[in-house]
Amino acid sequence: MKDKKICGVKIGEYGAFIALIFLVLALSAISPEFRTASNFLNLLRQASFNGLIAFGMTCVILTGGIDLSVGSTFALSAIICAEMIMYGLPAPVAVLFALACGTVLGIVSGLLVTKGRLQPFIATLITMTAYRGMAMILTDGKPISRLAEHCSSGSFIFKAMGKGNLVSIFTDAIKIPIPAIILIAVFFAFYFLLNYTTYGRRIYATGSNEKCAALVGVNINKVKLSVYAISGLMSALAGLLMISRVNSAQPNLGVGYELDAIAAVALGGTSMNGGRGKIAGTVAGVLIIAVLNNGLNILGVTSYYQEVIKALVILIAVLSDRK
């Protein structure tokens, strides 16, 4: 009720989208290279990795937690998939197994939070460190390359996941990257889950007031465990898309990804205390970060300056989003 309104629209709720539109317009005006269709599609592909992770992170943060282990889960799941392919298992089997592993890795974090009664920050700091170490142990610290070539069967599927495009329906000029299609599909799944199901209500209630939620019969431990599982699954999915795209896996994949994901969630207006936030906001946050990375690269801004500019944009967006 206290939201500032412009033309009857609450800007507090759409702050991130307004910032995104502004950024896209500004970069389009400056750079002809930026405003091409192929660049936008490429941008979507780049956004999909952080996007998937950020969707899982949104659920965790909505319950009042945080998941620092996403980057390590991303890497460890990818390494597990790569090792299985190198071992000679069919690609679809390796992919499904790695997704299951990612879910289990998330559940471990969840158990530390619920049964172990650790604070989410500490619990996932522990799993973050452990999973990174495991990825190093499995690979002896070395990269695994030429994965597609090693697939015993199903190499088509493996290649398509991260690299592929959906071409047939459209003209050749507009190729929609498969990761972007996955991202959009997952977005709708999360949107439905959070807004239309009783499970979504329980997530919000747990983050809003744990004691109250427990007293009206919400099994808060089950809710918490499940969001870490979802976060693990999403991180693994993103990791698999990534190794498909670059056709190799390294144990130091995804270092620092947790921070990009948290930044995207915060940009999208989700409260770090839990209970408040929208998955659509996270989409805007993910796209802002992707547009910044992409646009600043095209403009030739050196990476050191890029970081500072990114920080400033996040600061401005978060400040302007305050009630």
Binding site: M1, Y196, T197, T198, Y199, G200, R201, R202, Y204, A205, S208, N209, K211, C212, A213, A214, L215, V216, G217, V218, N219, G275, R276
Partner: protein, 494 residues
Amino acid sequence: MNVEMKGIDKSFGTNQVLKNVEFSLRDGEIHALMGENGSGKSTMMKILTGVYTRDAGKVFVDGKEVVYNNPQEAEKAGIVFIYQELNVLFDMTVEENMFMGKEIVGPFGICDKAAMRKQAQDVMDKLGVNIPVDAVMSDLSVGQQQMVEIAKALMVDAKVLIMDEPTAALTQSETRTLFEVVKGLRAKGVSIVYISHRMEELFELCDRISILRDGEYVGTRDMKTVTMEEIVQMMIGREIGERFPKREHKIGEEIFRVENLNHPKLFRDVNFNVRAGEVLGVAGLMGAGRTEIMHAIFGNMPNVTGKVFIDGKEVSIANPRQAIQAGIGFITEDRKVEGLLLEKSICENIEIANLDRISENNVVSFAKSNELAQAGIDDFKIRCFGTDHECVNLSGGNQQKVVLAKWIYTNPKILILDEPTRGVDIGAKKEIYNVINDMAAKGVAVIMVSSELPEVLGMADRVMVIHDGQVAGIIDGAEADQQKVMTLATGGSL
């Protein structure tokens, strides 16, 4: 120090909360300030201490006009406000709390612990209370924490002390100690503004009383000559009829029985039953174990042994989910901490307890959810802008109605209410009593825990008194009176 406030106006947005209000405080008196929730008591005191600025009017201290821009300026002048929600750093010691922001420092900014400890001890001695100054705050009882707050006020040499509901969370004996301290301060010339809803206390402690109603000044009376009826009349400005509405329906068979409920520390050998349509009042002193027993029944406490029977069949309740399935509803003591998703809307608060009712195959129907919330607003006369009104912006009474609504729509067979009218004004209290009576008339077994004795006596068919974790006795409503209940509550026998 004397204080004179004249013609004070204050609005928040379009809502005028104080209209031409006046208040006068004499040297060395205890002045009670009373009024319903939202009548403007706290706002007026916050204007005096510089938390809010006034829109109009003047404040004189010792005859001179003053303006305090913030609480620090008021404190410097000797006016200190002790809030109901204590302003305490729980992980720090008593002495650290007392000197927070005004530490005694030696060379290089190093704290002089010894000096601070000694000075803190001196203040405690002056107050005549025995609290170790190196104790950690969270280890102290609420009463002791309150004493530390008073000690803090004395350290800045307070001449005017404003206390907001200081006894709300105190035990009987802590209340006695507080009264002695407050009277001692008066003898030393400190003027005290005492805000409380507890009528009995005011007659014992205060010299004069001022009353506000709907942001307007009603009057000031001498405590020696005023009567309780007159105060109530001034406060609500209308007749509310009978304070406790009557029930006429018949009480049925036993629905609910508890046998040998035990907890290693908190309570033991608790046995009682409740019948259909009956209201069982639960009385006892603060800390006797009433709230804990209710949480245990609801499955919200570990290490509890004992049996619970519903409709004659034993049920096992290990967590709140099973309690709800068994047909129990539980309106907890502290609605802000346990009862509400405070930042969420009325709709979201009602739906979270009724997810089965508003969903099909776990998919929520927005229409049903909204319908249920609207029904809640209509049935319980919740004053709000609509179903998406956030609960944090509702008054205490309306918040409590939201909690009642969400539980009553789960159609409980047994309804437990813990302090259902705490912090709720007289008008809303009566509405809550009506809801309780309606539930009883429908055949629900009602258990009502309350620290307000008149409420228990006025509402209950039977009164169960808890003392020191045990059932001290169960008295029939018709025979129960204040004296019998207090005798049992303090460990005596009838």
